[in-house]
Amino acid sequence: MTTIKILGTGCPTCQRLLDDVMNLVATNQWDANVEYVTDIPAILAYGVMSTPALVVNEKVVAVGHPGPAKVAYLIQQAITA
């Protein structure tokens, strides 16, 4: 089971990343749990200052929204690692 977290403050890009990740998980049928983290101290605990950020298995893999293809690749890589 993979845990995917989207760190976000509710901005439009954060929402878009969340939607894209949800879609990717559904279409690829990954065994993953997607969580949307909006708590500021929790976000900062990951050392992230700009949102959104993508966390897979407690590791920050992207800050900002690098586009669906890159997101798919990053999650894929973290799952197989």
Binding site: P12, P41, A69
Partner: protein, 356 residues
């Protein structure tokens, strides 16, 4: 989709091919852009005087020509320049900026923070984590404020539109005075030692080590995300641009010369503070406001008044203050607004005094 169908962006040969193709697409787009940009003027005249058959020099003809010229010009400029600005910004990250600002003295730190505030990609919704991240890593409060001030004051849409409608001198003045205001506001806040007005929980938050090893985006990724932001920004403002230019075109064709000299001219002392006050509720409508202001200036409004108004539209933004309220006590928000307001009014008077 199978697992294998997801491409690996780091693969070298593939990346090079993709980058080459991306450069090709961008170069092609640039050519088309140039071609279109040069077609606007003849096309606008043809539409206004030919297709709508208005005689040259008539009120309606002038207004129409103005409208058909300015709308495509500004939309093209916005698209092209915001794309370039976003590509430039992809070379900066907030984490990198924080590292650069660490350990800088007051003054130098404020100037650097203001400059980085302009180029670092940053949306106001990230203001809270960014503020905490900066302050926690020991960056002085005043330097942090210089960064937070420069970002909205020097707004890219406003900058591009000023460039398109007023020319590079006014755009440059706007950029410079925005930077100055950010530096001065930051230095004053630093000198006042207002750390006690930062919400207490901020000092307790433990900021984690940045876990992300820097992955350099490829050119095709930079271009792609720049294109996405350009689409997003232009999609958000184009309607304001059209409406603003329509109003501006009406003023251009119908309002007599110098009609505004009495109200918004440089000899009217209260026009600068009035412009600043008027700008506050117009937040985020810079795109619609600038064409109107441009038309007003043709009719005798003073440049300083116009610049002060512009900065107030983008800089004194209530939504941003609401976001910052989560980390700042009301006293500090109040002081920040007061300093910004005074600085903007002062800039307005200064330009009215110096220019023309």
């Amino acid at each position: 989709m199978t697992e294998n169908s997801i491409p690996a962006p780091q693969e070298n040969a593939l990346t090079r091919r993709k980058d080459a193709r991306a450069w090709g697409v961008v170069a092609g787009a640039a050519l088309i852009w140039l071609l279109l940009y040069n077609l606007i003027h003849p096309l606008a005249n043809w539409l206004a005087y030919g297709m709508f058959a208005q005689p040259e020099g008539s009120h309606l003809g002038e207004s129409l020509a103005f409208f058909f010229y300015d709308v495509p010009k500004i939309i093209l400029l916005l698209g092209g320049m915001i794309f370039l600005i976003t590509v430039l910004r992809s070379f900066f990250t907030t984490e990198q900026t924080r590292a650069w600002l660490g350990g800088k003295r007051e003054g130098v730190g404020n100037a650097l923070a203001a400059l980085l505030g302009v180029v670092t990609p940053f949306c106001s919704c990230s203001a809270v984590p960014l503020f905490i991240g900066f302050v926690e890593s020991g960056i002085p409060l005043g330097v942090t404020f210089s960064f937070l001030t420069a970002t909205p004051v020097v707004n890219e849409v406003a900058l591009v539109m000023l460039f398109g409608l007023f020319g590079w001198k006014v755009a440059g003045l706007y950029l410079l005075s925005g930077l100055m205001i950010a530096v001065i506001a930051g230095i004053i806040i630093g000198r006042l030692h207002l750390e006690r007005y930062v919400e207490d929980f901020v000092w307790q938050i433990k900021v984690g080590q940045a876990a992300l090893e820097a992955v350099k985006p490829t050119w095709s990724e930079r271009f792609q995300s720049a294109w996405e932001s350009t689409e997003e920004i232009v999609g958000k403002v184009w309607l304001y641009v059209v409406v603003g230019i329509a109003i501006g075109a009406g003023i251009h064709g119908y309002v007599p010369e110098d009609a505004m000299a009495h109200i918004l001219g440089k000899n009217t002392w209260w026009s600068v503070p009035a412009g600043v006050l008027l700008g506050v509720p117009l937040y985020s409508n810079a795109a619609g406001v600038i064409p109107v202001v441009h038309a007003l200036m043709e009719k005798g409004a003073a440049l300083g008044t116009v610049l002060a108004f512009m900065m107030s539209v983008v800089g004194l933004s209530l939504p941003e203050m609401v976001i910052l309220r989560r980390v700042l006590k009301p006293q500090l928000i109040g002081i920040f607004i007061a300093i910004l307001t005074v600085a903007i009014i002062f800039t307005g008077y200064l330009f009215n005094l110096v220019l023309l």
